[in-house]
Symmetry: C2
């Protein structure tokens, strides 16, 4: 039986889960996959944690070089957060011919091309299923099940924290701050929630998924980003009345040969399969030109679900003699021309009006003048004022921006309170 030696970098929440699975499922994996996978090295400073998990002290080290030199290590699996030292450690592993498995989306999205260059030198493999949508096989689906397709769009709920908060705001009518606190209490949000609630985490994942889908490096900086911290429960409620559900979406499309990648709150129809993805669950909706729509749904985070993806990668990598390369040289180069900048999308707009007669006609006229079709209007008299709520058909973002300037200048308008995109 083929023996595979694994080094685990870090025994935190995910690393601990990987240790647990590799220990409890070793015999099952031997029998089912014909691979004997053994953890031969662990890089971890917290000796108490090692003891707690029952890791033999003789395999624990704090020296990455020792791991990189160890001939018994075939695969290095990494569970740090942040770019460094993860990136340097994995490049060292690759340069020493060891395949790498990572759950670190920030590092991977920012450094994929550098890891790729290091892997090419030795033929080692790069595996990153756990970096996006936890235990759900979105990467494997894109690499090994969509070969007959040109992928033309991806839409994902790829961050559990924001989905938990938005689901709670929608179901209970509670405001953002209250729901964030609840999420923090339950461990769904970090003490400093910025990476999640401001959409950074989702841009890392969008970058990875888009790069894979379009076979072209989509750097994190090319992913437009807006978070959910400014979302008002009032708009979630009005959207609901119009048949929409608000989600933080990672969207990416190939439009006229240009890649359009973005992360922002967006309304989707309540009967869209993504609308029923609630709480901390995640999902990715893929459109391929032959397969049509495919959706993958499941736990986007958590110790064992994420560890399940890591172990799957270890087994998958362990069974391969030749590893996949993801890009050709020309696909790694970033060319500004490959990316769209002025997106086309539909909109939800909430306008505070001051009670002047004929407000709806004036506002409607401004949209009409800009060739923006209004699909739906709500006029709301709330305790804090009067609002016009409009849902438009698709238009260029630049056109919407200038139209909203015009609307803002109308005598009937007090303020533009909310502008949210609608994804059809």
């Amino acid at each position: 039986m083929k023996k595979i030696g694994v080094a685990l970098l870090g025994l935190g929440v995910v690393g601990g889960g990987v240790w647990e699975i590799l220990t409890t499922k070793r015999e099952m994996i031997k029998r089912n996959e014909g691979l004997d996978i053994e953890v031969v090295k662990v890089l971890e400073r917290n000796i108490e944690r090692c003891k707690q998990l029952g890791v033999d002290a003789s395999i624990v080290t704090q020296d990455m070089d020792e791991i990189a030199r160890d001939e018994n290590v075939d695969i290095v699996a990494e569970f740090f957060g942040g770019v460094e030292p993860a990136k340097s450690f994995l490049i060292k592993a690759l340069e020493n011919g060891k395949s790498v498995v990572t759950a670190n989306k920030e590092m991977f999205s920012k450094s994929w091309h550098e890891l790729e260059a290091a892997a090419k030198k030795t033929g080692a493999g790069i595996y990153f299923e756990a970096s996006c949508v936890g235990g759900v096989p979105v990467i494997r689906t894109l690499t090994d099940s969509m070969q007959a397709n040109e992928i033309t769009s991806l839409k994902g709920i790829v961050n559990g924290t924001t989905n938990y908060i938005l689901s709670k705001m929608s179901d209970e009518g509670a405001d953002y701050e209250t729901c964030l606190k609840e999420a923090q209490k339950l461990g769904y949000a970090e003490a400093n929630p910025t990476a999640d609630v401001e959409g950074f985490d989702a841009t890392y994942k969008n970058s990875i998924l888009s790069s894979l889908a379009y076979r072209k490096r989509v750097p994190v900086e090319k992913v437009y980003r807006e978070g959910i911290s400014e979302v008002s429960v009032k708009d979630i409620e009005f959207g609901k009345q119009l048949g929409y559900t608000l989600k933080l979406l990672a969207i990416s499309k190939l439009v006229n040969g240009k890649i359009e990648a973005r992360v922002h709150p967006a309304f989707i129809h309540a009967n869209h399969p993504l609308a029923s993805v609630k709480g901390s669950f995640n999902a990715l909706y893929i459109h391929g030109d032959n397969v049509d729509d495919v959706m993958l749904y499941g736990r986007g985070a958590g110790s064992l679900p994420t560890a399940s993806a890591i172990v799957s990668d270890i087994v998958f990598a362990g069974g391969k003699d030749v590893h996949r390369r993801y890009f050709w040289e020309d696909e790694i180069e970033v060319n500004d021309d490959d990316f769209a900048t002025d997106f086309t999308t539909a909109y939800y707009v909430r306008i505070a009006i001051n009670g002047e007669d004929g407000a709806l006609a004036k506002v409607a006229k401004a949209f009409e003048n800009a060739n923006i079709n209004v699909k739906n209007v709500l006029k709301k008299n709330e305790t804090d004022g009067e609002y016009l709520v409009l849902v438009t058909e698709e238009t260029k973002e630049s056109n919407m921006k200038s139209t909203l300037e015009t609307v803002k200048g109308l005598s009937c308008t007090d303020d533009i309170c909310a502008v949210l995109r609608v994804e059809n």
Copy 2:
């Protein structure tokens, strides 16, 4: 570049789609996968169809032996329906060292172990992604993404015809016959719809998916089967009022080490992700002990979606030098003890009552005496009579059967009109 010669058996709806994709995507697959896949033989009697698709007459044959002997053929892909001659042809291919790709769920579910035995002799590979849930990568997920998990249950909407009919009955309140006719008109149902509406098609898929999930042959005969032709729109409507959606589910569970596999209409909670799978869409809900719940959703049929899975299998098989074996000898043997016969499940029951006083108390007492908890009751006065509708908690099927005999014998009972399972 590695060259892969493919023979296509049949150029019908799916075979034609495969021909189209392999032709239009040949360059894309060369670039992305490093494989040059060429159709070198086609087995098809309909010469007009070959011409229509632009297949060169020189590669068309009607002789399977010619294909089996052809050294340029590496992979044989089959798109017949029914067991023979598909089975004999594929065994011949495997015995000649050619890997096989099939979309034929009936043949594969009934003959997998025989194909497996033939493949073992030569080391050839068996690929069948397209046999279950069309273009959705359910097989690849079970084989290549769940290695860290013991799968403990599967629940699937795996037949588009029945899902279309039940969705329409539910949305429009139309009866079964009307919706079947509409499905036939739209090409979602065959002229003879038995294989779909009586659940046979779903048992084939349940057999394949369960065998893979539990690594144990689950013969089609071991899958309990009930179709949808007896379903009344009245029960769909009453179920809806109780918060449930009716689906034809392929269910399979590992309960106390025994496999419980069944296909029947079942109510699921309206907020379960499977409830939002509408029309001809399919989905599979997988529970693994580490990954928790995963759902895969998409098109379960159709020319290009199914062909997408076939081509994915061809690419996947073409890239492998060593092919996977699915079972050990002892896993192929069928042992009656491995299968549960008296399932435990919750129930929806509709009872026609005759207006006698105290009917609810009498019926409730009968359930109570059998230790069956009633969760929910509706009393309905319809134009055609009076009904008690009950939803129970889980009990053994044998217990429910004998209890219903008792209820039927009560003086207040006219008839037991419907007994449907509820899947929690």
